[in-house]
Amino acid sequence: MLDATGLMVFYENMLALNNVSIRCGENQIVGVFGANSAGKSTLMYTLSGIMEDIRRKEEMAGGERISVLGRINYLGEEIMDLKPAKRAKKGIVLCPERRRIFKECNVVENLRIGGYLASAGQAKKTIEYIFKIFPALEKLQKRIGGFLSGGEQQMLAIGRALMAQPKLLLLDEPLLGLSPLMQAVLVRTTKEIREQKGISIIVTEQYARPVLPIVDYAFILENGAAVLEGGRDELMNNPDVRSAYFGI
């Protein structure tokens, strides 16, 4: 479904992504694991096209010189030159790190802003679906986004991304800063979304243990380069991976 090859991102002369290639098949959950500053968010920004937007704005303001290289093939089409809004329309939707929900809008408004690309019928159905998988949100419909707890905000962010009718959902560190209980809920729901909606998912995390049981395939990033990849079981049995990313 998605096949990105040779992705390179430079901030001035600093190499943020070094020749990373990543694939995601139809209806798969793919994990991307790596420590802080390994390049996970840069990779997500590059896939969703936000990097291109950042580059353009920096160039306009005379700021950092950013270069983005590589190819991204999505559903048989080269999308490297497409603007982020176009990529979202084609079904690549990013649910960003630190959630970035609209803090001054209430829960329903956040969802409806997310439904910008959806038709009225799709939006209505998706909102019902979101309240079904996240019953906690249904009770908070009129609550202002900025007053939600971290876990509620993350549920809202995932729901908002679903509103854009994704085919490929990019989840950037969805478990960051959440309690183990909330993490378990989100991991379970992520799996449900894949099964019920048939959406492919790429999920990044620093700490692989909570997510690894649901991923089909995973890549490990280190200093901007993909150093290791493999199926779930293969990685679980690799002693290096076990010590570095599972803390076993």
Partner: protein, 292 residues
Amino acid sequence: MDILIEILIYGSIHSITLALMALGFALVYGTSRVPNFAHGALYIICGFIAWSFLKKWGVNYYLSIVLSIMVIGLIGALIYQFILIRVRGMAISEIIASYAIGLAILEGLRWGGFKGMTYTLPTFIQGTIFIAGVPVDLHRIVVLICGAALVGFLWVFTHFTRIGLALRGMAQDERAALMLGIDSDRMAVVAMAFGSMLAGLAAALLLPLGNIVVETGYNVLILAIAVCIVGGLGSWMGAVLAALLIGFAQILTEVYLGTHFKSVIALLAIIVTLILRPSGLFGRQKELEERV
């Protein structure tokens, strides 16, 4: 007692006038973060376009108003698409660029011979009614009703329509909006066109009450900025409340201190707000964000 009713009536009318002037500015800033300093110029140019349609080409009055508002929306969109988009995200450059455009338009109009007291638009309805013994001309009642309707319309627009919600999302977090497929450049053009149309609408409603003169453009800009700063930049609900505050303050000074103190109030409001509450009456959450 009479004076109280007079203050109440004229205060409301004046407040709505200020709100009309400020809403376009507040909307553009609130959604695309572009401080549109050409706002006053767009306001005046709309008056001249309507005048040209009406007097030069003999178009029906109401039709010429609708046409001029559409033209002004187009002008706003073009200004954004070809000039302001290049300085997007650089606050100082945006102010300089838009102010320069405004200056060019206003002084260009003056240079082109649009000056003096000869340019006027007729009122919508002639006549005067008495409300509790206070004479009010009917056109001012029309302004009052249209202004209130516009505030209501804007509320519905930003809370229930797809475009309005997308604009609000973009104002809060442009990058997050991009991720959801909201094309921020195109939305900013929409916002600018819409804001210009609001300036045009304000002009169509308010200019029949006086002459169309270039200087009004500068006054409108200053009043709009005063209202927006007091209300909290970008919060158009704040702008409406600030318009009420400044409107009544101005009418009260006019009655008790004299007409020439009236314009001092708007400028004083800017200074007091910047000293006491830099983010304005409704900039609370922003202020919190800045501190974090």
